[in-house]
Structures are given as structure tokens and as C-alpha cells.
Symmetry: D2
Subunit: 142 residues, 4 copies
Amino acid sequence: MPRADGRLEFARAWAAGSAYYRRMGIAVQGLEEGQSRLRLLAEEHHLNSDGILHGGVLPALADAAMGTAARTVHGAAAQLLTSESNIRYLRPAAGGEILALGRVVKAGRTLIVTEAEMSDAEGALLAKAGATFVVRAVGDDA
Amino acid sequence: MPRADGRLEFARAWAAGSAYYRRMGIAVQGLEEGQSRLRLLAEEHHLNSDGILHGGVLPALADAAMGTAARTVHGAAAQLLTSESNIRYLRPAAGGEILALGRVVKAGRTLIVTEAEMSDAEGALLAKAGATFVVRAVGDDA
Amino acid sequence: MPRADGRLEFARAWAAGSAYYRRMGIAVQGLEEGQSRLRLLAEEHHLNSDGILHGGVLPALADAAMGTAARTVHGAAAQLLTSESNIRYLRPAAGGEILALGRVVKAGRTLIVTEAEMSDAEGALLAKAGATFVVRAVGDDA
Amino acid sequence: MPRADGRLEFARAWAAGSAYYRRMGIAVQGLEEGQSRLRLLAEEHHLNSDGILHGGVLPALADAAMGTAARTVHGAAAQLLTSESNIRYLRPAAGGEILALGRVVKAGRTLIVTEAEMSDAEGALLAKAGATFVVRAVGDDA
């Protein structure tokens, strides 16, 4: 197994190299083993016709936060695929900065279970999500 | 209650006016009462660093398909907010055309329950999703 | 891999030998490859203090229906553990006969994704559920 | 709105009067506003044919814990119906005492969002669940 530093560095580079994150306006703000902190700046194009954050934005941010947290577990040694996820919305959001905290709840050999909380700039909780990732070994990253 | 045509037209216009749909490359292909058919063309920016569709793309597409189907129920007479959703991924996707079929399972006074299936251009089922929407009356659209 | 008959027989015997199914009043009515049909007779002790079926009854029935359908895939060759499940309630139930149809949506090497629909004796849809099962090989049943 | 004591007392009496809780071996151990602590003694009849806790037991316990926590919010003033729930299993359980902590995450006018954690007697986390309850006013309980 690689050193924690190597795994965090992998997770960070993986996120930084993602065209999807850039397109969505998602950036990694912090990483620890089993944890991530991401930021999305909700702009005009994230909003619905009625000015509320589109229902698809927070699931995407949540998946990014949980996937990034999960990638700190195995680093480059495994490919992770989202198996399933769910989200519950607690209050509507209408733009501005959104923070997501991702966390590994249980890291098994074949499955990693994670959670994420999304809040606005004032710290109000917007949504809670959970996901399961499937671990696929891709050879040793040594 | 408005005529079905008015409600379908509202749902169509609502989707067409969405900056988020445009940004995500989502277009409505068909609408019936309680049903929607959406299309996303998965491009470079929808993919993860490992060439697989990012875990956040299909939840966003699913939410769009389910929300559009749900908007055919009340039309302009109600604002819909996603209350919760979940998704299960059945096989990885790697770009190209993705179709989403959204369907209303149960339309109640305060909640609308929906489902969506996402498939690739060859018709292979990629993911199945479900969601609950909260109905908020916004005055009669008569 | 065993013949389909052997796998159906295993799934049937597995359910018939379950003290939990007996306690809950759950019986298998029909089995095909990848499908199950279960029946629960909702009695006094399945009801809440307000006469409505307790929120825990249908998830238990759904898990039984989905697990039984999933057990027709590998038969005795694999142990199945529920990894995650969800359920959406469409209308309240108040006793009587409840039918559950379980179905395998995707049978992979390590995960089996399933769905179930629960309806009352008049055929009204009560709830829809989904679940993922983890497959653990337990030796060949040949 | 009733005093907190009245609401806790209602939630406690509601659980104590439940034939389903008795049948399942579920007892309320503690209640605070927005929180519950329940206990289930897993016996032979809660187990699968392979000696593992049946997949339907923890969803039932979770629903009880979350419903009891949610009932401390409105007391007798509202009827609560489970709208949807999900659960993720973290490790298999094989009998003995199981504790469930239920917690209200967000209490809205029409929806109450809750969570629950289930652990064994040694404190090992077995599963995490979430649920949404629909609030139906039933008159003032004054």
C-alpha cells in the first residue's frame, strides 16, 4: 500500500485533471485521509428557470466529494466506480458558494461507503448524500 | 386544471429555457403526459480522468428527465422541488449519446414520485433512478 | 454453474427454511429465474398504533422478494448479503394480503441489482423498492 | 404546539402501544426532542438460513427509530407516514443486542427528514439509514 501522501496526491491530481470538475466549477479545497472538502461556485448556468439550483447540481457535487474522499483510500492502486448514490435536499439554494464535505464511512475490499454534506456560504445545510463505490484493482502503484 | 397541451408546452418551455440543461448538453426529445424523453451528448467534459462518464452526469440527467416528466402533471400551476433521489449504475458509459426516459409513478397532491432509465445509443441500460418531488402551488395558471 | 432447476430449488428451500419469513408471515408463491413472487398476510401485529402498516414491514418484504429473486442467479454457489436498499411508499396499506414481485435488473460478478413492487389484494401499487446484493462465492455446488 | 414533555410522552406511548414493535422485539430506551434510542434483541427468528441477520430487520428497526424521533417533533398533533427510506449495510450482524439511534435532520412543515445508525453491543456500526416522513395534521392535541 502506498504512503498516505501518495494517495492524497493521487486524489488531488485526479480531481485537478478532471474536465468535468472544471466544467462544473468544482475545485478541491482540502483533502485528508478518508475526507475531502470541495467548493462549487453556483453561477447562472447552474440554476433552473425559476432561479433555484438545478436538482442535478448537488448530486454531481456530492459524487465528486465522495469520490475524492474514496480515492484517498487506495490512491492509484484502484479504479473506483460509483455503484449507487442517494441524496436528500434540506433547503433550496439559489447560487453563490457551495461547500461539500465528503467522508469515507467504511472502506471494504470491494466496496467503499461514503457520505457528503453540502452547505452554503453561511453554513446552512443544503443536502445530505451517500454513495457506494466499487473498488477495481488496477495493479500496484509502487 | 389546464389542458394537457398547456402543461406539456409549459414543461417543454421550462426545459428549453434552462441554462443548466444547455450547459450540460441536455435536450428534450419527447414529452407526453407523465413521461419525458431526454438526450445528452456525452463529450470530453463529461468524462472522468479515466475516460468513464463522471458519476455526477447521470444523476443530473435523471433529475432533468424526472423533473420534466413531473412538470407535465401540474404545468405552470406548481413549482416542483426535488426532495430526494437515488440512482443505481448498471454498467459504465464512456461517451456518445445517452437517452433518459422519465416517468411519473404516482402524482399526489403534495408529492410526485418518478423514475428514470438511462441507456446508451445501442439501447444498453446504464442506470436506473428514482426521485420524489415536492409540489408547491403557485397560483392557478388559467 | 448448476442447472436452473437446482438454483430455483435452492432459492425455494432457502426461503422455506427461514425462521424470519415464518415470523413475518412471508411465503414464496412463485419463482422463475431472476424473479420471485412473495405473499405477506398483514395481521394485527404488522400495524402501527394508528392502524396503518408499520413502515418497516414493506422494506422487510421487499428485501425478501429481492433476495429470493437474486438467489435464483447463483443458487447455492454464492452467499448474498444486502449491501443497500431503498423504498418509496406510494399509498398507505391497512392490512390484508400483500404481494411482492422481485426482479433481478442486473446480475454482475460481484453485485446483483434488483427491484421489487408491492401491491395489495386489489392490485393497487403500495411501494417500489430497489437493492444491491454483494455476491460471496461459497464453493461450487456441483 | 404542545409542551416538549407532552410530545415525548406521546412518542413513547405510541411506541409502547405498537404490536409491531413487540412482535419485532423492539423497545424504546431513550427519547429526547428530535432523538430516539431503540433496542432490538436479535433472536433466532431474526436470522436468515445462513445465520446472518435478515436484510429486512435493520430497515424495520431503522424505520422505528426514525419514526419515533420524528414523532417527538409534533407529538399527537400530526400523523406521520414514511415517504421513502434507504439503508446501507456496513458489516453483517449475527444476533444479540442491536441499538438504533434515530435523529431528526430537518423538520419542515410537510416533510421531516431523519437518519439512524445501528450498532451492535460492542459499538460496531452495522448500518446507516435515512428516511423522509410526510406530516399530516390531525387536529390540535390540546
